[in-house]
Amino acid sequence: MTQINRGKHENTGLEQQIQGVQGRYEAIRQNAENASIPTQNLLAEAITDLGITLEELQVTAEELYQQNAELLTARQDLEAERQRYQMLFELAPDSYLVTDAKGVIQEANRAAEILLNVPRSLLAGKPLVVFVALADRPSLRTQLAQLGTSAFKDMSPFRKHVHKEQAQEIYIQPRDGKAFPAAVSISVRYIPETKKIASIHWLIRDVSERVQAEEGLKRVNEQLESRVSRRTALLSHLNAELQESEERFRGAFDNAVAGIALVGLGGHWLKVNPALCQLLGYSEEELLRLDYQAITHQDDLEQSLNAVYQLLTSEITSAQIEKRFLHKQGHAVWVICSMSLVRDKQGQPLYLVKQIQDISERRAMEQMKSEFISVVSHELRTPLASIRGSLGLLAAGVLHDEPATTQQMLDIAAHETERLVRLVNDILDLERFETSKFTWDKQWCDAATLLQQAAEVIKPLAEESKITVSLLPDTQSVPVWADPDRLVQVLINLLSNAIKFSPRESTVTLTVQNQVEQVLFQVQDQGRGVPADKVETIFGQFQQVDASDARDKGGTGLGLAICRNIVQKHGGRIWVESALGKGSTFYFTLPIPLE
């Protein structure tokens, strides 16, 4: 039975008692009226008083009734509130537990039942600590102990009986389940009079997802940091590589043998390497103040500009031209200029990269070769033309009526044939000496003997020109390590030249001298001499002092070239000392081998 019902019942009893008293009062008053005894006045007074008391009693009863009604209403309100709180407690999404001061569970809501995987009926009476992961139990026990001793003075000023703890995070260990992280808020209720803990209220919320999210976030963060770290390392590596690449490029640029340059589209030099500066004779500063056109040979400018135009219009992707730059000192420098165009990402042309290789030597060699072929061609074709012409006329019989001309043509044919034979022999000799296949028959021989042999061969020519060939010394033996036939060939060539260019009835002196490490030969004449600017060149091919010498003196223009070749192949040296109009002395040495 509820309090309200009990109050109602109590009021009804009181009314019944009042009604009983009223009944008994009425019975007494009837009896008193019917009695005829002297005490009648006293009784009447008593009955009156009793009536008054009865009325007062009725008033009191009414007041009690009203109070009871108010109390009933208050109780009903309280009950309604309690039920609301109970519902809230039951239906709360978070787990809610009530423990005593020692942490023994008193009450648990439905969410707690699910969270801990234990029926509520079994939760009651169990220490909360058994549902906490082993690692967190010591700290929880400590916390409970501290709550018991400290906290009353820290009570909330607004709710005097409540002490709130900070929320914390611990691992909850449900029955037959895996421990999970939970956020726990603790509220402590105290008994104000005793300042003892009445109960501890635990609000427990599973934060696995949040923790997982946090851990996920942490992992992502770590991954991100790791990626940033790797990226930073990669950037650092790339930066180092770039720096190294730049250094390599700079090293290659600065140390390249060939000239390298970056040239702007307007032709101005943007960057030039030391090799190019050296090739063109300018300092870097001087070159950067000039433009490409200014130092390009006028005859090659159109070709250069045409190549650049073709690059700009994408007709070609690279170009290679042979051209001439103008050296600072004015002379032309032949180069191969390879160029390509650098464009930006949008394809707009930026600048030209040019590699410039010096081909002066190659061009000079080609020029020399071309001139040599031209000269040889001329030297061979000229006697051939005479031979073919003279014999052709004879063969055609057009000269049958001109015996003198016939004889003249025969003489020309014979003479030019001899010339051609000498020329062919000299060319072949030069060619043979140059090849590695030629065998030099070197041996110890007596230089004096070889001089005599050469003098003997040249004797008819000398006698014809009334030239005296003198040998010094005439008897001394001088051993020399040489190919005797080739050495005689050198001596004959030198003697022949000396005789050809000496005045009649003069003397040509042939000397051999044994020096310490070499044998020195001298051929001295009293001829016209060699101009100073020819003393070197006359040893070249077809390089006579006078171009007409080949015809007038019967030479081929190859004699001294052959002499130099033979002497050099023996490890010796040949040169001439001369005074114009007084004569020349040709020298050559042959080394004396140690063994």
């Binding site: 031209s374 033309a385 171009a547």
Partner: protein
């Protein structure tokens, strides 16, 4: 019709004799000879030949210098010149073609045809003797 006169400038004595014989016997022309460029310039101005046969490669003054002087002298600039050369490379031939000469004959030539070649280049009627 008067006999044509050709001035042959060539330093090669033997070859000069052969050519002279060819032109005289097979061309029917008079031939003057000069052994050097300088001698040739003098004879060209003085003798006014109908044509000049000029060797290119000569000492002292080469054939191209002689040609330049001939073309620069009003007295000789209208005399047709045929170059005689042993250089047969294409570059040389192309160079000669630009010099304003009547033609180029290369050595060694066919002695029986040289007169025909000259007549053809000069537009002359060949008078076979």
């Amino acid at each position: 019709m008067p006999v044509k006169c050709i001035l042959l400038i060539d330093d090669e004595k033997d070859l000069s004799d052969v050519i002279q014989t060819c032109l005289r016997k097979l061309g029917g022309w008079n031939v003057l000879t000069a052994q050097s460029g300088r001698e040739g310039l003098g004879k060209a101005g003085k003798e006014q030949p109908d044509a000049i046969l000029l060797d290119v490669m000569m000492p002292d003054m080469d054939g191209l210098t002689v040609l330049h002087n001939l073309q620069g002298d009003p007295a000789t600039q209208n005399i047709p010149v045929i170059l005689l050369t042993a250089k047969v490379q294409p570059a040389d031939q192309n160079k000669y073609a630009l010099l304003g000469v009547a033609g180029v004959i290369t050595k060694p030539f066919d002695p029986l045809k040289i007169s025909h070649q000259i007549a053809e280049k000069l537009g002359w009627a060949l008078e076979i003797v």
